[in-house]
Symmetry: C3
């Protein structure tokens, strides 16, 4: 019950991030719906297609209704929600952290290997946002130096590693999600970024 | 038999719209083939992947051959076809309207819920074109204010709603497709568009 | 054994081409990993999803580990690898040629038709690179006039045609891959390109 609620909360947070792209571009309501749904369920959909399990929102309408509800709400209040700049980014960070662990956990639960589980965790947490940015014609988190995909990687990888070392699922999940959240939080609060590849290495050699 | 013919016609119309992107950019024949196929079968392919039913063109080569035929035809006559600006947009509107209903109907027929059916109708009708525009580096129908995705939404939603209210499949399909077509037709003839989200709301509050 | 090695080699070559996009943009290590994996396994993943067979890297971790290894290597040596401009393009050409034939062969082996097999061969050989370019915000091979997708088409189509005319699988595969490689090689060495659609035809008619 609590888990289900957390799951809906994750979809809702991502849907909000999606509809904000539509509001910033001044698009119509159907575009709000499109971007909210794409961002909210895109990552988990890719994960389920690749794992060849039924797509999670097919048999459980709640997820799509959450995206619909968020779109309606945001159609009226996007300008107010955007006012909460930093709280919103923290909310998105919580969604990303939770999903990186949940994506990895679902993959392990259907019997796939740890390496695959890490990849799936990252995909679940980030793919919806990447699709949204590509369709909106904006640079996605992949090509920005700010820490985002890296934090998803730490969440998924940390969970899989701790499980391999024998920690119980819930403890591993909590620690891994917290690690991912702290890393992403550092990027939000202090602008943490990963070192980029130095193109000018070419000159040095 | 008639249905099959209509289905091929839908793919053909979308394939034409795809190959025109290639002709406008002055690309080679393989690009004609690529964009014709992507646009022609993209939406239905996504629908079938998500529903976990066999992709519709896997066992029935006709669809791919239609895309091939359209590409060859367009390679020689794209400049003439483009001359029919408005008729062509109407043809595309017919394809979109028919597919929004067919996508929803196929989803209901495999036992999924009405909410999912609406989403699948919209996806079938619009996803091929969105993919085409993203790969061609052009703004897709999602980010334009002109009514397009909205009409697909009305077609799929109208069909599902009328079915739920007990109308027979054929009547519901005909009315819903007509509604979608009229809405899209209004956009073509009179430039109908949906109201966009006003960014300057922020100033007012 | 040798086949498996060739398969890993193909993934590695594509992964290198992917990570070079990350190095050119000066991105961080996770972006190297992302682009290497996307380019390395993207085309084959689409093929397997469409064919509804288990995605090839799900049960066999080697492929993902190859992408990881390539990313680590490239993180330190991308500037040197890029120095080998032409050899690198030839390596990519070998990967593309081999995959166009392997994609078509896998499709025939699961009982699908020749037309579908050609499409799948082209998709396997080119889709990873197209995704990479779309996400990186660069023009993909589809919209360039240089021969690339065309060569994949010749590889997949040639293989399917020769099989249909009764040649044994290995002979057909070798000849088709060689044809694709020669065509792509001509583009690399002599700038071969396909004639584009002439937009100014409109003026002539």
């Amino acid at each position: 019950m609590l888990l289900q609620l957390l799951d809906y909360l994750g979809v809702a947070v991502f849907a909000i991030a999606g509809s904000i792209v539509a509001s910033r571009k001044g698009l119509d309501f159907v575009a709000f719906l499109f971007f909210a749904t794409l961002t909210g369920i895109g990552g988990g959909t890719l994960r389920d297609l690749l794992l060849d399990v039924p797509v999670f929102w097919l048999k459980s309408e709640g997820y799509l209704l959450v995206c619909l509800g968020v779109s309606i709400f945001m159609w009226f209040f996007a300008h107010i929600v955007e006012g909460f700049g930093k709280p919103l980014r923290w909310a998105d960070a919580i969604g990303m952290s939770a999903y990186s662990v949940m994506g990895a956990a679902k993959t392990l639960s259907v019997g796939d290997t740890p390496v695959v589980a890490v990849l799936m965790g990252v995909a679940t947490a980030t793919f919806g946002g990447v699709l949204r940015d590509v369709i909106a014609g904006e640079p996605s988190a992949i090509v920005k130096s700010e820490i985002y995909v890296t934090a998803a990687f730490v969440g998924a990888g940390g969970f899989v590693a701790m499980k391999a070392f024998g920690l119980s699922g819930w403890v591993a999940a909590a620690i891994a999600a917290l690690l991912a959240l702290l890393l992403r939080g550092g990027a939000i609060e202090f602008g943490w970024s990963m070192p980029g590849y130095k193109n000018n290495k070419r000159k040095d050699t």
